[in-house]
Amino acid sequence: MTLAFDLILCLMIVGTAAAALLTHNALAAIVFFIVFGNLLGLAWLAMNAVNVAMAEIAIGAGITGVLLILTRQRLMALGDDLVSAETPGWLRAGAVLACTGLTALVGSAVLSVAPADDLGGPIAALLPELGIENPVTGVLLAFRAYDTLLETFVLLGALVAVWSLAPGNAWPRPPASLNLAESGGGSVAQAFGRLLLPLALVMAAYLVWAGSDFPGGAFQAGTVLAGGLIIAAIGGAVAWPRADNSILRAVLVLGPGVFLIIGLAGIALGRFLFYPPGFAKAMIVAIEYSLALSIGATLALLLAGRSVAPDHRS
């Protein structure tokens, strides 16, 4: 039965990806992409990689899907009909040939590698030193902490890049409001938004706390927080701040800042990102809570978009 499940799931993953790329309807493409992300999440669950499954369902399907829906709305408001022009037949035929060849090449390369979880043992042996039990959190925040530190700055950099696209007369005004109530008929959204934000906060706090020993962690928690903020913004419970709001900026740099300071403090004890023995878990948890907060705010603002001019209609 497990084999049947895996086979059907893989077929559906390839099928939904093909549908997302081949349909002529942009909304259908976005829906198929969200379905594709959810199925990929199930594939990671089937592989017992629950940490990745959560990240894929929350970020790959959830946040990316919301982003695509919002972009579609913004483009339609600008008069874009979102029709992807037909490409000439020779180009499509050539692309089919080239991509089939490439798939065969990548496929044979994949077959030449025997799947193995070689690093699982050594990582598990090192975990008691850190005092945590989730090996993925161990890799993300201790063994490969450098990657994760830079990754948080990539996320922050993306927000700065998006903000930098604001026209001169808009900066530093807030992004366009998502409030449903402003355009009438938002009482359900309002109630749901007010109910969900505290629930999302609790869920995010739980995911960070669980993340040291069970699947979860700062990125998954930050995404849930961002989701709660978006729903609250649609319900009118939260309004976007101006881009030069100092509290907002403090929240955005809190996570990467705490991470960097702890990393630099490690130099005094030996090397960059060194956690003193016995304090590793406390430091990892402190980094993760501040990261979750910053990631939540950053993702929500990435979805909200850049500053808009006062006469902007959205």
Partner: protein, 99 residues
Amino acid sequence: MTLADYLVPALLYIGVFFYAAGSLGLLRFQDAELRLHALTKADNVGLGFVALAAALHWGSVAVAFKIAAVWLFALMAAGATAQLMARRAKTAAERGTDR
């Protein structure tokens, strides 16, 4: 064989039946408003039965609470989104801006 050994599969397949009914409804009903019923009602009943089966199977109170949280949240979200989707469908149809 205890009672739970029969009860868990029974509840599970009842849940799967409701899921199948929801999918068929989404496929076969004539217009969007009818399909919305199939989607937000049948599927969440199905989820309820599956959740009950899973909670009985685990037999742990802590896990049962977590499963209850999943189901209650799904119900809450389905209630709110069903309302909003129906309203969206109505205004879009009235204004001819169905896109």
